[in-house]
Amino acid sequence: MKGQVHTAQRHDSALKHVTGQALYIDDIAEPPGTLHAALVLSPIASGRVRKLDLSPAASSPGVVAVFAAGDIPGLNNIASPGKHEPLFAEDKVEHAGQPLALVVAHSLDAARAAAERARLDIEPGEAILDIQTALARQAYVQAPSTILRGDPAAALKTAPHKLTAEFGVGGQEHFYLEGQIAFALPGEDGDLVVHSSTQHPTEVQHVCAQVLGCEYNRVTTMVRRLGGGFGGKESNASWVAAAAALAAAKTGKPVKLRLPREIDIIATGKRHGFDYRYTVGFDDEGRVLALDASLAADAGWSLDMTPGVVARALTHVDNAYWIPHVRAVGYACRTNKQSNTAFRGFGGPQGVLVMEDAIDRIARHLGRDANDVRALNFYGPGGDETPYGQKVDENHLARCWAEVKQLGEWERRRAEVDAFNQANPVLKRGLGLFPLKFGISFNIPHMNQAGALVHVYTDGSIRLNHGGTEMGQGLFIKVAQVVAEVFKVDIDRIRPSATSTAEVPNTSPTAASTGSDLNGWAAWEAANTIRQHMVTFAAEHFGVAAEDIEFADGNVRIAKPGSNQVMSFGEIAKLCYLGRVSLSSTGFYKTPKVHWDAAAMRGHPFFYFSFGAAMAEVAIDTLTGESRVLRADLVQDCGASLNPAIDLGQIEGAFVQGQGWLTCEELWWDKQGRLRTVGPSTYKIPGSRDVPAVFNVRMLENAPSREATIFRSKAVGEPPLLLATAVWTALKDAIGAVADHRTAVRLDAPATPERVLAAIATLGK
């Protein structure tokens, strides 16, 4: 049997990817009469719209129609009702790049040329362009939220040692290679099929219907695959789809809206940048006694998913460490910039930086090894409850830590790096270690549900559908493995099909690393229901007990006294059909145990934790600030991995993406608030040479999830991104070597050559 769970299986589309046969939305054949759309964007970060004159655009060659806020039949709102996030700005603009209107033309070039002819009369207003200004003015998109345990103020007062520090980290552009795109095709009675490169087909359906003022049942969202998502196509895909849907509904023609790279980058949200300030209290050994931390997120102009991001940052501020007294306050700062959104890790990567920075400073202060201080503070017996009240179960921290130190040859390399630094005045090397604990589940409990739809046909072939989207992460092959396991058939017999709101409704986004956890179980339920039907029928038909029906190797064996009848899976399917047995089933799953009180910031928000550890070695040039990552050793907990080949790809890819966030990827706005890093020539994601030359990745062995996850596997999408924190820590170590590690290092991220050089410059002072 081919394609069982826990075996390495290639991505189901790999051969189509390499031959160019895999279809993305822009590759779907266009029906005659298809129109193309282009957006009119605000060039100004903040202002009042005095006049929006679209007539020059409307009269441009090839233009069919123009649409602005007033043309929307339903609500001009792309957020859930009650919140206000207009599809097209009305009286005021709140960031440079905000959509004001849509131009629809016979060709893409005609639409884009016409969009540039719109006459915008906007009275510039005052713009808030950074977190500190927003904090000073208390400009927030939601009230500050706080996680509190114990009495941190009192504990800090009595702590033998106390340190206060500040630092900041920038945002991150998703840079999915396939830009945002939607293709809306009108049908009869106002029905609409929307092909959308989205991680959240159901939200696309809802937002399109809300903008059009129709019932949800009129809109079908479909997506076979995304050319990358990373969180950037969770909420942002919805407004792109709604704009296309509006134009399709109004013109009665198929309309495609594909954002050119520059428009995509200036119009859509990114990972939240954060500014931090914290005070940490500790004892003589470096045991953390209390933490009082402020985490201020750059939310951008609107709410979007900022509440969830801030909540996850706050629930990850502890990372791997037991902190008896904690106050962590999250500020969601309103700025006149892109509305920041989900990005792989969803606030978690930003949250964990606080304690990593604090421990480096504690160690420096006490003259101890930072990694001993890390291990000293790990969650463990007597200190195993998170600040929000969830126990740290199935704690693999110590094991991951020991394994990564062994894998990375910590003792030897620490000595080598120190010797190198003694011998080299210009180049310095640094080592960084990072322990990981990451909570798995949506912080919003009701989102932890999924549906699937499985059909078995009379030739024994199987069609699989579920609410999860395939964006490269290998979800379709993993869920297919689950179904193959239920029926004990070759995976080739299972045909994964495009995600569609018409097949599985009311789905959650494919996000928060939960794709295979949720959809795997839902598909298992669906397949198992069919299998039960088959067993019941076969037992009766052959006059045996249900236990005597055995599925194995693509066959079904009927164990009767004196005979062992074997039928192929197709034969039993045909027999079931003739016996009038349903061979189709939905499946439904909801994650057990999760609950969360968002007001009190307490509960059990995560079904389980994922663990890991990383070691990174870097080199810096102290004259130019240039750096390289020389080596990385990673240990990642995947439970009993459903598919080690896919999970390896997730770990490596996430690490490199995290490395990019913390090193070379810099978003840069000019003084007018216009983002100027708008394409790969100005916004630098890692290239192949930036990947550590030595890159060792291990999955934690013999560590099946203790919770009842699908075949005891664990989520893998986001946790390994955080492992790149080791690179940041290593850079601080290398910088610290300039002053012989006597001084603590402040290193804001991304650690571009400029920031590394600036950090070195502060050491002398």
């Binding site: 396939e178 790279r261 090397r429 490269g472 004259l623 600030g625």
Partner: protein, 461 residues
């Protein structure tokens, strides 16, 4: 003149009629030819999702970005796309496709056809499976999913595949003109006459810069004179005194001669664009576009390069340092073309170094770039030329720095940076960083001169 664009696509002859020669190759492939395998990721020649392979008459295969290539440029060429790769006997996937799939080198798959084409050019080019070479071959392709490790693994597997036979090219003997807007002269005389007649037409060499007008801005130039087929402009000549590079020779063509004479350029040129860019881009274009952050001007100024500027009125020589007048303004007359760039070879006792600072090592635009030529006799620096890019509105010599260095040594030279340059803040770096980095690059230079055995460059690690 109503010539038609003719080329070979995946072994099949193609002749175009009624299409603008300013149409990008990518748009034609996808929208007109219906070949959807080649993707648009950025439309600025940077992400590599649109990579196709140019098949030269000598069998050489070069990756190029189809998004910024104009159809007029493709006339007389042979192009292969991902749909044109096949296994032995024409069936099934090609070995590079198999290797990519079997190495788990695809995730979302959107960048994959571009990687496959870069891998194809690499695998059939007789190169070895060395990491440095593989990274060089991949520098023009971005992947956001895999972290590249499996792609590098696939490249290792396919290195050194048999060199595939050269395609049959329908080469064009004489000049061509497409649509009255795209002129492709085949001789210097024709080029100069055309230039005199149409001074407003843009000179187009590899289109790695001008191509963005068509691809990203969607406003292709009204008229171009394509200089890439003029033999006088593509020749690379060398004497014992100097190297002369035709203005329209691609970097790929010019690199061997340049690196042989100035070894420090090896790493520097490898960091200029990517293979996709270097297969098309030219020295003449890099100079003619007069960007303050072009990579070649600072090093060529330091090397005392001279330009040969030619028109129907005759030819003149101009030191490169006198070519740049102001931001994007040059000394090129409306009827002139840059014919060639001549770089004198180093004399005994002369050494040459260069530096490039950027956020990413490969395929990034310089924050600061610098070239230094020094004559050192018995430990004494008695002549020096230093030029910087990214420090002013034009690339230029740092004369006060040179004077200070000659007179009072490195400390004085470092102090002179601030009087010499008033750089700007932008997304590549603040003015303060540029100044500090320029000062520190002089420290690095001092270390190189003082202790040449010592590694003072992070790339050495």
């Amino acid at each position: 003149m109503a010539d038609r664009i003719r080329f070979v696509l995946n072994d099949q002859p193609v002749e175009l009629d009624g299409l603008s020669p300013m149409t990008t190759l990518l748009d034609w492939l996808r929208d007109h030819r219906g070949l959807k395998g080649t993707k648009e990721g950025c439309a600025e020649g940077d992400c590599g999702a649109c990579t196709v392979v140019l098949e030269r008459a000598d069998g050489q295969r070069e990756a190029m970005n189809s998004c910024i290539a104009l159809l007029g440029q493709i006339d007389g060429q042979a192009v292969r796309t991902v749909e044109g790769l096949h296994g032995p006997g024409g069936g099934g996937p090609h070995a590079v496709q198999v290797a990519m799939a079997e190495s788990d080198a695809t995730q979302c798959g959107f960048c994959t056809p571009g990687f496959v084409m870069s891998a194809y050019a690499f695998a059939t080019g007789g190169e070895k499976a060395e990491l440095d070479t593989i990274h060089d071959a991949l520098a023009g392709n971005l992947c956001r999913c895999t972290g590249y490790r499996p792609i590098v693994e696939a490249m290792t597997k396919v290195a050194g595949l048999p060199v595939e036979p050269a395609p049959r090219l329908s080469t064009r003997a004489g000049s061509a003109s497409f649509d009255g807007s795209f002129h492709a002269p085949r001789s210097l005389a024709e080029l100069l006459a055309m230039r005199a007649r149409q001074p407003e037409a843009l000179l187009l060499a590899g289109a790695t810069d001008l191509g963005l007008l068509a691809s990203r801005a969607r406003k292709p130039p009204a008229a171009v004179i394509h200089v890439a087929h003029v033999p006088e402009l593509t020749a690379v000549r060398e004497t014992d005194k100097q190297v002369t590079i035709g203005a329209a020779a691609s970097y790929a063509q010019a690199m061997p001669a340049l690196i042989a004479s100035y070894p420090a350029l090896k790493t520097y040129l490898a960091r200029l664009g990517s293979r996709q860019i270097r297969s098309m881009g030219t020295l003449g274009g890099n100079i003619g576009t007069a960007s303050p952050i072009g990579d070649m001007p600072p090093v060529l100024i330091a090397l005392e390069a001279r330009l040969r500027l030619t028109s129907t009125r005759g030819a003149r020589e101009l030191p490169l340092e006198d070519f740049f007048l102001d931001y994007r303004k040059t000394a090129l007359a409306a009827d002139e073309v840059i014919e060639s760039i001549t770089v004198p070879k180093l004399w005994p006792h002369e050494v040459f170094f260069c530096d490039k600072l950027s956020k990413r090592r490969d395929q990034d635009i310089s924050t600061v770039a610098a070239g230094y030529r020094l004559r050192i006799e018995s430990g004494r620096i008695d002549d020096v030329r230093i030029a910087f890019g990214g420090m002013a509105a034009t690339p230029r010599r740092a004369r006060t720095v040179e004077a200070a260095l000659k007179k009072d040594g490195f400390a004085a030279a470092i102090a002179a940076i601030e009087t010499e340059f008033k750089p700007i803040d932008d997304w590549r770096g603040s003015a303060a960083y540029r100044l500090q980095a320029a000062r520190n690059l002089l420290r690095r230079l001092e270390l190189r001169v003082a202790s040449p055995m010592h590694a003072v460059d992070v790339e050495a690690l």
